[in-house]
Symmetry: C2
Subunit: 234 residues, 2 copies
DNA sequence: AATATTTATATGTATATACAAATAAGTCAA
DNA sequence: TTGACTTATTTGTATATACATATAAATATT
């Protein structure tokens, strides 16, 4: 009954989480039912319901009607990574951001890209390549293809001032994406662009972004591997 | 009023999300208040409240008392990565899993590791090193330190049959973790272990897991970069 | 004009009640 | 023993009501 400053469902949620983490109920074990917890906490079932429902949505517990609520078994672990806008990423490190456009041309995409963008043959896509600097050190090389059928307005963009990354997020804010992370070696071109030795390790992120059935853009982001660290907590 | 099969708050949530994605309300714009949406959908305010509250917890909208609810400005994207048990990862590729233990010794950890495990000086930790094979090809090299103060039972484990990865998940199921992903080059030792050229690209995951104040284990997982792909959707 | 105070309003939470839906467990029939 | 059916229990959702709280906007004060 709202004894502290936090709302009551939040207190209950915290208390349950603490007990679960402390091993009061082990993974797989069933925790008491809503009714009984409501009595224990001196509140209504709805309040307990909300607390547990939120724990369930966070993957801490699993619920099933009639069977009750049990502590989730962690079969693997999931890490949530935030890939923010490059500029912000760089600025967050306290470095100065600079951006250089290398190419902005309508081209017939190579086979692989055409497949990724699910485009018809003999259709042009926009090829944008650019470099993002942190304090004048190359930080990320961006090689992007944009589906012009889906985003025709991209053709009018110069991308001189606004980088394609930020422009697209502005233009198409709610997209689904798939990321592939890998380690690759720098070839001559990459070494030149990122100012590293040929054969240096690169941390590569490939991202495909779509909405509904339409793929909007496919991009390959390459970073010098010794300086790039993708961190995730949880 | 529950017109379809889905519950009403879910329908409202879906409908709002669809409208937001379609650009009915642009990022930064305020959507109608709960009261007014309740009238529109012919339901109670509480039902609308739940729909919008969930959208807020998913980062789609932002709410402020008196000011109302507005469509969130998308500042970046977040990707959820699932790092499952190595064995399962390998088996999911249709390959046969094999595991070889290389070392299992109590040792004084080097400075860096001692700091990570937040251990006192002159305290031993368990050093376990092993290799995970996919179809007889080296897939992952695991270099792990386990805090024996926190997990004393690890000292009794041979890790001959069960690998430390799975054993720890079993033993200490509820953990918090931090991951760092990076690209590195194979040195002589790595090249030998993973059967790659010296100077090959490695995809490296460093993970620290803890519970409360106690760090339980710190592990470095190295994979041949050209064969390892970490995929995430969302 | 700048600052402090008040007011109005949208969201946030708590609770009681009612019914829906899934399903574990128990019962009965073949 | 097996499978079909029933029932009892637990969670899931909807709603009305009441009050709490943050804060934008309006008003008063200096």
């Amino acid at each position: 009954m709202n004894k502290g400053r936090l709302s009551s469902f939040q207190m209950i949620k915290d208390d349950l989480l603490e007990k679960i983490k402390a091993g009061h109920w082990l993974p797989g074990e069933t925790i008491p039912g809503e009714e009984s917890l409501a009595v224990e906490y001196g509140c209504s079932r709805m309040t307990v319901n909300r607390a547990i429902r939120e724990l369930a949505s966070e993957g801490i517990v699993e619920r099933r009607r009639k069977a009750g609520t049990r502590v989730a078994l962690q079969s693997g672990r999931s890490a949530k990574i935030n890939i923010s806008i490059v500029r912000k990423e760089i600025e967050a490190r306290g470095a100065t951001y600079r951006y250089v456009l290398l190419e902005n041309e309508e081209r017939f995409p190579p086979e692989g890209v055409r497949a990724k963008l699910s485009m018809k043959e003999k259709e042009k896509a926009l090829h944008v390549r650019c470099l993002h600097f942190a304090d004048e050190t190359p930080y990320q090389y961006e090689d992007r293809w944009i589906n012009l059928t889906r985003v025709p307005s991209a053709a009018q963009q110069s991308f001189e001032d606004t980088n394609p990354n930020e422009w697209l997020i502005q233009e198409e804010p709610f997209l689904e994406a798939e990321h592939v992370f890998s380690a690759q070696l720098a070839d001559e071109q990459m070494a030149d662009l990122l100012n590293v030795q040929i054969g240096a390790a690169l941390f590569v992120i490939e991202r495909r972004t779509w909405q509904g059935a339409d793929t909007i853009t496919a991009v390959k982001l390459s970073h010098p591997g010794d300086s790039y660290r993708l961190v995730s907590r949880g």
